[in-house]
């Protein structure tokens, strides 16, 4: 039957360019390099989502281990911010200072974002971090227990838009349907650069339909279901999708692998892989 159509569809079964060689596991650099059309070797690769320090859940990640993971896969660097740190106090000052100290040790590899708690006295910490040189903000509505549309959160968004800082918002594990709130924020603040950590997967597929119209909204790919990542790549396109890992919870290897495989399946052109894996983030931050 297939022969009658004139061509055997090999890509249904495998792709000769990405079948691992013997002794070359799927989580190896050699395999991932081929899977990403050599982007890992030839283009700047930047991760949009990594933590430094320690979390209330017992996880931790230090600078040396972070850089070791990035180095293994030739990832040039990453956006970093604090965990849900047990030492966060009312304003995250202590963990933000730790992130900044790590940045000072590896300024070419890290892009520090400040983590804020809109429920607390966030303004002094925001100003301190802004003056230091933090390049963005991380908000976690579940961990810090605030609705995205709350007056306090909107104040943070407004300030970030005024100062040109991107805001990465957790829209994954444990959150509800937020696309309507996000659309309202994006509409009210067209200058706000909003990065959706985990691509709003709880609200899929509605989220891509609702949010596609807002060019100031970006989708970050860590710990997203393959079927949801398909929707994001297929609907939003390659220019508003940002590679992320969520280190240390997921590894660079698995995160690179999933985005590359799904981009391949969706049919993203090889020429746009460099945008997905770092180019879009660097342009968003004015470094591209």
């Amino acid at each position: 039957m297939v022969g009658q159509l004139g061509r055997i569809p090999y890509e249904r079964y495998f792709e000769t360019s990405v079948v691992p060689e013997p002794g070359v596991p799927m989580h190896s650099y050699a395999y991932l390099r081929r899977l990403t059309f050599d982007v890992l070797e030839t283009s700047p690769v930047w991760d949009t989502h990594a933590h430094l320090g320690r979390d209330r859940d017992g996880r931790s990640l230090g600078l040396d281990d972070l850089l070791r993971d990035l180095d293994e896969y030739h990832v040039d660097g990453t956006v970093v911010f604090a965990f849900d740190d047990p030492d966060q106090g009312v304003d995250f000052r202590v963990p933000n200072e730790r992130v900044w100290a790590a940045y000072e040790q590896a300024p070419d590899r890290l892009i520090p974002f400040m983590r804020l708690n809109p429920n607390g006295p966030w303004q002094p910490e925001y100003r301190r971090c802004l003056d230091c040189g933090h390049r963005g903000i991380k908000l976690h509505p579940r961990a810090q227990d605030f609705p995205l549309g709350s007056p306090a959160a909107r104040e943070v968004f407004g300030q970030a838009a005024a100062d040109g800082l991107p805001v990465l918002v957790h829209t994954g594990y444990g959150t509800g349907a937020v696309s309507t709130e996000l659309a309202a924020i994006a509409r009210e603040l067209p200058d706000l650069l909003l990065i959706l950590g985990h691509s709003t997967f709880v609200d899929m597929p509605r989220a891509v339909a609702v949010l596609a119209a807002y060019p100031n909204i970006y989708f970050e790919t860590s710990v997203v279901g393959a079927y949801d990542l398909f929707e994001v790549l297929d609907t939003i396109g390659p220019f508003r999708v940002l590679y992320g890992s969520d280190l240390p919870y997921a590894s660079s290897a698995n995160s690179l692998h999933e985005l590359a495989v799904m981009a391949n399946i969706v049919g993203v052109e090889a020429a746009h892989f460099a945008d997905l894996f770092g180019g879009n983030l660097l342009r968003l931050l004015g470094r591209g």
């Binding site: 055997i8 890509e11 013997p22 596991p25 979390d55 859940d57 393959a226």
Partner: protein, 148 residues
Amino acid sequence: MLLRGTDPLEVCQEVVARGLHPEEIDVDTGDQILPLVLDDRHHLLTWIRLYSRCLAASTLFLAGAVDRCVWEIDAALIAAEDAPCFLDEIYLAELRDLLRSAREQMLAGETDIEHYGPYVALTEAENLCATRMIRREVHADRRRYPRT
């Protein structure tokens, strides 16, 4: 047709170079003879079985039923142990690594809803299964509805 080899890349390249159909190839690895790939029905059932085990494990973890979650992971590991075809062994090996990682994290005490790590590992395991299923479906779909 029977091909000899242990290198998946070389075998796949030979299949393409000779214009052979993947579903008509068996591979003699020296230790055993396996089909290169499964036909559509068995491929789908294999990965549905594995996906459903991973999904069940993830759901049980979120429900706080860690013992039952580990039981599901063990069942998934059994289902992923024997490669049903030559090419899938690569992906099954990776799946086993992810499942063992989730298992080890839970046995090390990450058992509470606030522990994010096992959820991540199980999500990655689900994704690996899903991508194996999606690949064939998308290409079948693309034949019917080619991109313009």
